[in-house]
Symmetry: C2
Subunit: 356 residues, 2 copies
Amino acid sequence: MNTRPTPLRTAVMSALALVAPLNLLAQTAPAVPAVSTAQTAPAAPAVSLIGRATPDIASLPPGPQKALVEYGKQLTERTFAHIGPEAANQKLRYAGNNLACVSCHQGSAAKPFAMPWIGVSASFPQYRAREDDISTVEERVNGCMERSMNGKPLPLNSREMKAFTTYIAFLSQGVPVGATVQGAATVQSKMPNRRADVTAGAAVYAAKCAVCHGTDGLGQRVGKAGDGEGYTFPPLWGPDSFNTGAGMNRLAMATRFVKHNMPLGASHDATQLSDDEAYDVSAFMVSQPRPVKANLELDFPARWNKPVDAAFPPYLLGTADQHKFGPFPPLAEKQKQMAEQLKTQAAAERATGAKR
Amino acid sequence: MNTRPTPLRTAVMSALALVAPLNLLAQTAPAVPAVSTAQTAPAAPAVSLIGRATPDIASLPPGPQKALVEYGKQLTERTFAHIGPEAANQKLRYAGNNLACVSCHQGSAAKPFAMPWIGVSASFPQYRAREDDISTVEERVNGCMERSMNGKPLPLNSREMKAFTTYIAFLSQGVPVGATVQGAATVQSKMPNRRADVTAGAAVYAAKCAVCHGTDGLGQRVGKAGDGEGYTFPPLWGPDSFNTGAGMNRLAMATRFVKHNMPLGASHDATQLSDDEAYDVSAFMVSQPRPVKANLELDFPARWNKPVDAAFPPYLLGTADQHKFGPFPPLAEKQKQMAEQLKTQAAAERATGAKR
């Protein structure tokens, strides 16, 4: 038995359209696997990360597990120092920029709605649209390594990969496998139904972001280039930032993150930017130059569930400009229709198959 | 930072003695990771597998996840046909014998106290004594591949490995990460405090086991050798059975499995053999010839927590015969003392270190 592409595959993929969330962010962060709503055995309860205590490493007994969890936390917080392009151990230079995981995954990857890792162990392996396949948590980590970190994948059997997955499992303690996690990913807010205003975004940036990230957007280094000490505030574009394949280079994704996590100190229940400000300033960010990820046309091979804000070809629903800067609601509506059509088609094919 | 052997490592390992369960089976099946009792954040509840519904694959919506879960179940039930030494696809001949996972993991790996896989996703990565290190669920699967299946490890990025971990995650739905699972592993019964009686065991075997497994212990094949159809009843020894490194080749481990799962139809709440019968018949089984695993001296590098029934050198606590056939309680007592001693020593070393 082989689950690789078959005629049936196309059919089941389109059937999936009904169960896969069709929002713009469906494939960017710990999503609830389809299984959680569909199984008859003990249903996984919902878990909320809001106000939930984060596991404390200090409470672990000394031993290999504690050591590995600590290493995982180090890799998460000081990624640049351990696996960045300036890391002391040249063999471990897997990341291509000097960002840290916590540049996006705030609060040591435990902050609600800042793509937290709490519960991630409980949601993998899961279907991922980017690969149109089931992915393991290791593959998800490497998705970041090749995009947000603009680097190379970590070997699956490396100490560093194991440290990441062990830290993620530590953070996930108590979350039932398959649970719906309130606080996962980002707040699924709606996008303004208009093309984003990059000029207005530039003004927001100058007023609220430049003080930390720099007027040139290149961040503030700790020490000097080459010392592997990373940034106090990360670069948002330019050669040492995430590449064009990163989720943060997608406008709707970035808007949701920025709205509920920026400027520093903002959170889902204490936002500082209006919806319009978040949308426009994010558009300003994604309009800037950054490293180009090769072979992006291989991402989201099942085009019906490619996020509408994935601004790289092929473009199935609108122009390149609309996929990059919106408006997105009309694209989402078109995508929904496409999925419905595929679903009807698949059902018809199944019915024909059943008659034979 | 590196968590590989350091002077500190020895110290923390011995400190672990207090938290690691010192029973004979501590390292054979989904154990509760040390973290679950030690963290201050949301404690993982206990989950019981007894009477718990097993997730039903039929309830999954069609799609890649369902297909992969189904493939994982196929690999589990018909291991021989897919990855055995007679598998149609020669490239996939990873297992070295024609057993199936379900030869031991009964009930499609969902039966309580028959080393079920339910909850396994929620308990890895975990500390494993066999490696004296943190292991992933993939490494645990490969532990079986190299021992119980007397074969080669599956590549970590193979479709087959992903199918196994996806099936395991499917079975684990609803189990909180780090939870204590009642029904995991085997019933932790005590061993008779005597050397096992192989002759008495041979009589039990003839009376209660030979009808299925054969008087020669070589099982009953489906069809003929070479057709990749496996066994109706698996061989318990001989060239097509598990090797000397398998957990089932350890007397206490085997006794616990046999007592609560053999003959066919037995369960933890409906046993068919007395404690003595289970112990002796298991001794008869482990006294028989089987494939020899190379390099077993590399297993359990931290000798203080090598299971006392791991009957291969080095022998720290007793003779080779006693490690193979018991009596085990005196060995367990000696092991406990060794662990206490190491713990005291480590505490003293830490105290000295603190003074410096």
